[in-house]
Symmetry: C3
Subunit: 369 residues, 3 copies
């Protein structure tokens, strides 16, 4: 989307045309000409908006949008021209793509680009100012290599894929079709592997590649290391946010989404359809099943065999209270021992009381409790 | 400061001249010629140093510096030539800027830069080697676009602002005056927004911009995403350290400072004058009041309505003790239940004892406790 | 290793030649010609593999590799041609480097590079497409400045060192010999230092440098800030993974290894031979002794005077259980108070019981416990 030019404002699309292209049921007599999108609260006349959740229904009456996308249960929640669909948010996303299409890729190689002999650039592809494409690298049809991107020897970029700017694709690494790789991402740097030897470290050569499937988005300054000895593999439809670190030989299953600042250590295998929250971590060599959700700031230290949501961060508090409470975290084991001891001693007292004085007398204390 | 050339050593400035320009009261007969700065312990003759805290007073006697900046309470703590000011550290910072001025911006466009027709470059601005400025982008007076920076269509860089090297400013994003953006920062990549649809993800077009105020500093490889549908807004005087992730449509109030490795999720609104510690996190759609302080490694999961300091990290311990204690974190609820139970049982025992044996006799055990 | 070309497959090296060059004892009559490396499970015929740990012995029988490296205790664990060495993994690393040598550096400056007059480039060094080397910068023998790297005034790159691509070295910063700096790393940006002054922040000029020793590896998009007023110093043999933030005036001792996403605040001094786990943090001005190990996700808040392993992360759990338990973290101090109170009350009850009924009678309850 956000490439070298701003998304274009469309000349306008009739609601009926959107419905014709995307499906759904159009309700209402008017067929407004739509020129953009907006939230319920801020949309301007001419805009398409959507109601994704019942809690926003109160904003519906006041919206200035010209049409609204609703779910089946909200069919009659407004008198505005509307589309009734099963998934309003996804329909909104697709309609937004039609209303604000990405600028087309301009075929050709910029004069300032450096394309080595032996690089294969499809005639329909774009290579931007200052970009570097090494011998043996391949850029497929309609792909776009933005300014100052570099594809080293044998790197491949698939059809309709975009490297926005300053992206590095190391030797032999492959990106599939329709990828969007944001500025500064680094694909295929060496993983962090060294053999300890008498107080120093001997580098393990990293001979595996990074293989990235189709329809993948990779955020700004995210890094994905090459494997050793096996390849690092990112499945189809995976979405990675900014500043994520993916270690060597990691595997990420299809359609898994990972939020910003996550770190994934080497050789972890993450299933398909997982959702990893921001700044989470996954230790090396773990296996995470399909459909696992990891909360933000949570470190996964063991393999997860079943879908489900995993959480492990320290709750925040006002600093003084945290100081008070956190001190005891360091003594939880002792605290548990004391509870054990209390239980044993109390049981002894109870037995003793029971022995000498059984049953417990209904005394005056009872009423005071 | 640290741009393409090292800060210049000044030919020397008299202490009296610094006082003339920055204010403060000069004490002592000598008026040394100062050529640089330094810490109390390492300053060389000719250097200006400062005493910001009483705990460093012991270093004052031994310093080799030629002049020292002190607060009112330390007026007589040294016989060195000195300046008495309300805020020694801020005065030191300003004096250091005068003693080591940043090199002036060299007007002109490097031969290897790629400036598209329709880009507006002020004649006093600098565009460095290999930089790319797209049609419709604007570079204001005395601004500097370092090597391999890219400003896409409609991007704007304000007066006296510096992009050091390899900085990306996506289409339509605006940076105010006197900004300093360090190498590798990415301004305006798409936010992380996808609508789930039958096991896959539909991209939400990101149509908002990033708007950055005046006097902002942005650290190396920090990423600030564009908004959807609203803009991402960074207030005047905000300071962002390295490797920070700012999500789509986030708002950060004036003069807030954020340390390295922090992640801020989409649509969070952070007030003015906040201080966010390193590697902290703020979840999406939260509102943080002005003047809030967040400790390092702390995840903020709720809106904060009042100033104050929030903390939430797990205390570190020797590994074996941590293993011991951390195991109990997983059973705190059970531990709390057991305490509840103990209290109830003990109360029952006390009632029983009280019923049969009231008041508690002053027995021999008392003396042994 | 992974630079502009893929590691080269060697024409083949006899096992006896590897032993001749690297030491070790060759066992078995055959002297296979080896052309590559592989894991026990995936190695192909012609490959060299290794057995680093007894738990992988089960894979040894089935391996298709042509030779295997073993420790002394596994000398007879296979009939394959083998090398017996003290440290199989380190020997494997060195053999892999011989079997897959990095491509040689091609001397010369690319036509599209921008080398200012006054830059010193050794004739045997390589300066790649679009790279920028400022006046006063120095590139030593056989060093390689990859595409779009920039060395500002006075920066130095040592012999045989490699900047892969898009690396920034700020003015005056020095990198030693045999360094490998991955794409997007930023060496020498200003540290995060500002003096508060009436609600705003005054920048502290950063005049120190970054000094990096020999044999250092720096990961992709890692940032190392320059110091103020003292230099930031990275010792010989240090290995830094991707996306690490090293603050101003930090010192890191020789052969310390730091995993991805770690943040180190200003003026921390880390000893030699330390191991810092992924996404750990170290607060400013701390001193960490030699040989300290820090677990992943652990924040170090105090100086560490002795070797040892430090840990402090919150254990992860299924989300519902975490909710249950984490709530009590906020009330640990109260929980501790209640245990204190229980102990006091129980002691009183025990004393009372002891006073009235001493010794405790051996009652029927005893047998039920």
């Amino acid at each position: 989307m956000a490439v070298s030019q701003p998304p274009r404002q469309s000349a306008g699309i009739r609601l009926s045309e959107l419905v014709g292209r995307l499906g759904g049921e159009r309700v209402g007599a008017d067929d407004p000409l739509l020129s953009g999108i907006g939230s319920l609260e801020r949309a301007q006349p001419g805009a398409l908006t959507f109601l994704a959740h019942a809690r926003y229904r109160t904003h519906l009456a006041a919206t200035r949008a010209s049409a609204v996308i609703v779910g089946g249960g909200d069919r009659d929640a407004t008198a505005l021209p509307r589309v009734v669909v099963a998934n309003p948010y996804a329909w909104y996303a697709r309609a937004a793509q039609l209303l604000h299409p990405a600028p087309p890729v301009e075929p050709g190689v910029a004069a300032s680009a450096c394309v080595e002999p032996g690089a294969q650039i499809d005639p329909s592809a774009h290579v931007g100012p200052g970009a570097f494409v090494a011998a043996g690298a391949r850029v497929a049809a309609r792909a776009s290599v933005g300014p100052h991107c570099r594809l080293f020897a044998g790197a491949q970029l698939g059809e309709d894929s975009v490297l926005v700017a300053g992206v590095t694709v190391y030797a032999g690494c492959c990106i599939g079709a329709r990828a969007l790789v944001h500025a500064g991402a680094v694909i295929g740097a060496d993983g962090f592997g060294f053999a300890p030897d008498r107080g120093a470290w001997v580098k393990i050569p990293h001979l595996g590649r990074v293989l990235i499937g189709d329809d993948v988005e990779i955020g700004a300054n995210t890094t994905i290391d090459r494997g050793t000895p096996d390849d690092t593999v990112i499945g189809d439809g995976v979405k990675l946010d900014n500043l994520i670190q993916v270690g060597h030989s990691v595997q990420i299953g299809a359609h898994t989404v990972i939020a910003g600042c996550v770190g994934i250590a080497g050789s972890a295998r993450i299933g398909a359809g997982c959702r990893i929250g921001g700044a989470a971590g996954i230790l090396g060599h773990l296996q995470i099943a399909d459909g696992v959700e990891v909360s933000p700031f949570t470190l996964v230290t063991r393999s997860i065999a079943e879908p489900g949501k995993l959480t492990g961060y320290m709750p925040a508090q006002p600093h003084e209270r945290w100081l008070h409470n956190a001190a005891h975290v360091r003594h939880l084991a002792r605290m548990a021992d004391r509870i054990n001891e209390l239980e044993a001693r109390l049981a002894a007292v109870e037995r003793a009381a029971g022995a000498g004085d059984e049953p417990l007398p209904p005394g005056p204390a009872k009423g005071t409790n």
